[in-house]
Symmetry: C2
Subunit: 311 residues, 2 copies
Amino acid sequence: MPVNILFAARTVRWVEYEAPLRAALDAVGLDYVLDVDLPPETVDYIVYAPNSKVQDFTPYTRLKAVLNLWAGVEDAVNNPTLKVPFARMVDDAGLTQGMVEWVTGHVLRHHLGMDAHIVNPNHDWIADAPPVAADRPVGILGLGELGSACGQALQQLGFPVTGWARSPKTVEGIPCLTGPDGLREVLRQSQIVVLLLPSTPSTENTLNAETLALMPKGAFVVNPGRGPLIDDDALLAALDSGHIAHATLDVFRTEPLPKDHPYWSHPRVTVTPHIASETRAPSASRAIVENIRRGEAGEPFLYLVDRDAGY
Amino acid sequence: MPVNILFAARTVRWVEYEAPLRAALDAVGLDYVLDVDLPPETVDYIVYAPNSKVQDFTPYTRLKAVLNLWAGVEDAVNNPTLKVPFARMVDDAGLTQGMVEWVTGHVLRHHLGMDAHIVNPNHDWIADAPPVAADRPVGILGLGELGSACGQALQQLGFPVTGWARSPKTVEGIPCLTGPDGLREVLRQSQIVVLLLPSTPSTENTLNAETLALMPKGAFVVNPGRGPLIDDDALLAALDSGHIAHATLDVFRTEPLPKDHPYWSHPRVTVTPHIASETRAPSASRAIVENIRRGEAGEPFLYLVDRDAGY
């Protein structure tokens, strides 16, 4: 009997994913049916985007697992009808690599002071070399897959990197602090802070008026993590005062960022449109199919969401 | 008898270098005199900037070596009065690391399409993720100390890097092509080309109308090497036609770049003011003093200029 796989995401994603999913399924030799419309009681797995039409999982009576297309799960983790194993997307080849490139690029951009050369209307030749990376401490808040990979890439380039996580982590070469005192310490010593924490009630407004004030004057904020990690009003005030030199933000409480949001026109803010970490269909499809293969072989699923922690 | 060391560079450099040079000299335990003014016939070593007042070395009758403060030697290598060993600056901790940071930063900037977010007057939210680095081939022209280090840093970030050099080189993990056919091959396959060749008669106008036309449409040129490597008129024409998407240039035939030079106002050119690779006084001083120590100990000098090759 074939494995029945429902693809529950917007049509644009089906266009993008159908061929790579079939290629990945064929590669592992599964007998399968893959479609965007299947009788609910026949479905074994759902490849899922939290913004799909499927919000009530009750009719999916033989469902074995829901395999998220997104790294972020906060829109689905509290769905009380989702009772089967729920895996988030961990697509090393796309998500992690993309994030490492975006974070490394924007950290180097701020470190090198590139913006003053990219936009230089008076054609000023001001030959001030920046310090070397060894003199530019970077803090990474959140040391999961993404934070660890970004921290290691920055450290290889010469930046002194300190991490902070909710629970103690061991990442080769990166000192990791924990708890409220550790957070204050990382903020005090970091000229560039990168936010890669998950979005949970306990991480909301991690950067607020009090914690932003701990950062050195002229520091940079880089947020490719989640919008709610930042108290937006507090960040705008810190940018207005010049205490924070610049914020580069890829994620927001409302996306797309509303046209009238003050971030768009603030001279010390760069908005990027949630592109730091994008699943790329070929590698994401292989990751999803690996979980289906595991389910059929009776092996444990990878990357299951911890519903108590919320991520 | 003390070793007499003349510091022959502009006053601003003396202010910057005096203390770190003395610290480095003290650290190796030499008996020395270091000054900006010494009787020529008493001088053992000259710490030298090619734009200093010393242009005739004839009166320096007991000179043992000239130790350049700059990586570039083309302004001094043809001085017929300079007959003693002449060492260029190789300051790994400053020059090489600074170059790696500048090159990696600007390659990532073009790869990620950052400029469209840094300057986005219409506040457009266009969520096109770039390809991953693995799909963005980079060519490095010149595989000396700087080119090799930059190539390896880019490769660690995932870029496929191909190098080109005058003579065959072995750099771990980087295929190296040589000769005119090799140059054409590197240009054909590279979406981003980084110029790190020395400035010699044979490298002048390495990028010209013919070679620029070999690059893929929409490619990027990054020049932290030397101004004469590029035929400026040919580059401007390739930018005007859109064949080359953008050029980021740190070095020019005339520096500072004249206010009326078309590079300043071209929308597809970014000018940085010769800051990609700057000696940093502490590490540069240690490199210079190491050569003085070697001279006094009868050991061979490091980083001697090959006058026939011109670098």
